[in-house]
């Protein structure tokens, strides 16, 4: 049998999992106790006589017993599974937050079940229903844009959840995140102080993406406060991909009143924009300053290195895990929903070019 064309030895019928080789009752028989005692040995060992406990544990080991979680969950209404629904696996930040969540819950006996909604709220609803069906105990979602039905569903099934990335200003939902609007507002103010007056904005599409909306709003807020204008022609929407960022920047470069500062709502499109400038021979930051959000390795390693905003994403994952497990344990949790961000100044930003072309 060659490695490159491995044919499956098909089984009699189909590949249904084997029914467990040994079940709790077998362990009970070997240990000479009742099945209730084995159950206690597994779930509340301190209730048992030490000698009994040892005997049961020996039997468990000898039989290589693995409990059936389905049966357990059916009976106890707990699956020890936490669901995370993120917009996409491909953007490194979601992966990192998820990783941080998983790292936190795994030692507490919870497994992570992960799904991606591809920035679509109906998909998210459908996925959540599928996960509730599978007995997922609690949920992490990203952002505050969700189908209203989602919350009805979660409430109906009594599943704790937490919204991450942003802060839910309505106070209706537990949330952990940072102030995206303040982040880009701060960044824009910095650029204004550097003398920039003509701005461009490259944003992820707003639909179903409150982070992008808030980040755009932050730019507009800062500009308005300084009596500056953001023309429609200077706003480009680009999905989170290098090529889209490049394309968006090319459009901005083609404008007669070309911006001297371009704020992007994430590092990926910002780097795409950087590449457009490289290709076009436009100096960064000499002619145009560019900024991102999320402070990724991608941005930090560019030439020039990208000015960005460090977002507290690992901490978001960690706190989300804490919150959800606490809720599941019945602990009374109080938590700080808002985390700080930090502007990271690098080489892609500088003073506005002195000669103002109008």
């Amino acid at each position: 049998m060659t490695a490159s064309a491995l044919k499956t030895r098909s089984r009699s019928r189909s590949d249904k999992p084997n029914r467990p080789a040994t079940v709790l009752k077998d362990v009970a028989r070997l240990a000479g106790v009742s099945s209730a005692t084995v159950s206690r040995a597994l779930n509340a060992p301190n209730l048992l006589d030490v000698a009994t406990l040892t005997r049961v544990q020996d039997a468990v080991r000898k039989l290589r017993y693995v409990p059936n979680g389905q049966a357990r969950a059916l009976r106890s209404q707990r699956s020890f599974t936490i669901g995370a629904i993120v917009p996409s696996f491909d953007y490194a930040l979601y992966a990192r937050a998820t990783s941080s969540l998983e790292r936190e819950i795994e030692p507490r006996g919870y497994a992570l079940i992960l799904a991606s909604n591809h920035y679509d709220l109906k998909t998210e609803l459908r996925l959540t229903r599928a996960l509730i069906e599978r007995g997922v105990d609690a949920f992490m979602f990203v952002g505050s844009d969700h189908d209203p039905e989602l919350f009805v569903l979660l409430k109906e099934f009594g599943r704790p959840y937490v919204l991450t990335w942003g802060i839910d200003r309505s106070g209706q939902h537990p949330s952990i995140g940072f102030d995206s609007q303040a982040a880009t507002r701060t960044m824009t103010e910095h650029l204004i102080r550097l003398g920039h007056r003509e701005f461009g904005l490259i944003s992820a599409p707003h639909e179903g993406n409150d982070r992008a909306r808030e980040r755009s709003a932050g730019v507009r807020e800062a500009l308005r406060a300084h009596g500056l204008d953001l023309k429609d022609s200077h706003v480009q929407y680009a999905p989170i991909a290098l090529s889209a960022g490049t394309l968006a920047m090319e459009k901005l470069l083609a404008l007669r009143d070309r911006p001297t500062a371009v704020v992007a709502t994430n590092d990926v499109v910002a780097v795409g924009a950087l590449m457009a400038c490289r290709k076009a021979g436009v100096g960064v930051p000499g002619e145009i300053s560019i900024t991102g959000v999320d402070n990724t390795d991608l941005g930090a390693t560019q030439t020039p290195a990208l000015t960005s905003i460090q977002t507290p994403i690992m901490e978001v994952g960690r706190l989300a895990a804490n919150y959800l497990t606490a809720r599941l344990e019945g602990t009374d949790v109080e938590f700080q929903g808002e985390l700080p961000f930090e502007i990271v100044l690098r080489d892609s930003t500088g003073p506005a070019p002195s000669a103002g072309s109008a």
Copy 2:
């Protein structure tokens, strides 16, 4: 209530999920049929009279019925969940393969349960046991380095699985991937043709990472075939992180017989190496050529752009999904395990510097 300090309204006892508001029996009652009929309406609708089916579906909708997957899985021995255990979420490539897997299984009714083994085989074994406990139907693993006990467990519980990234040369396990050794061998040969004679290697740690081992072996193989040597001092091990790549390169730069070509086993450490050269003012590719593996955005956007190897990772995820679902459906699957890779030449490689310093 402020958004930043949201206190949980704690429930009477703990936050156990609600028991389902409506169960199958309720639907049966409303529709005026037996519970078996409802079950058929859900799982084999074509067996039913259309009128009956419609009545049941109406009842399902009216009661907002969501089936209990635990009970279903307990009875049918199928959870419609596929597990993927990857070394880490943080390396973009694993995220991308996982994403591709999920995209493929989700429309077929399977959910993805994801865990990270942090490059530790014992952890992987433990996680797998936890997932089998949760009724996961089938598994995707990365690479061919695994605890032998893992396969005993999978066999005992009759769970289909597939190893990805590499090809299992032993022919004992279904696998889908590409030839890592050939990849770096080809790359090294290219560098040799460019006149390089003094090589450096920056590899991920070999322990529990067959991909890194094979990639290192590929470099050695090519060198040996051309009568070239790879000194121990010229081999550096670095975890997949920029800073580790930088550190490794700094050590190589400090050597008296400094390499003129450095092959890294992944793009991240290659970019770290690039940064070390930038800092040290060493010209790339003028003084040193550097290559990566995986052809990531990170590498492609550097200055100079990183020469790398395009690995067929999305396809691996897709084929893994196909294989596993086919096995679970009982279909006889035959598949090509080996996929092609492709060398992507960019600006970080060039001819060896003409003056050979010895």
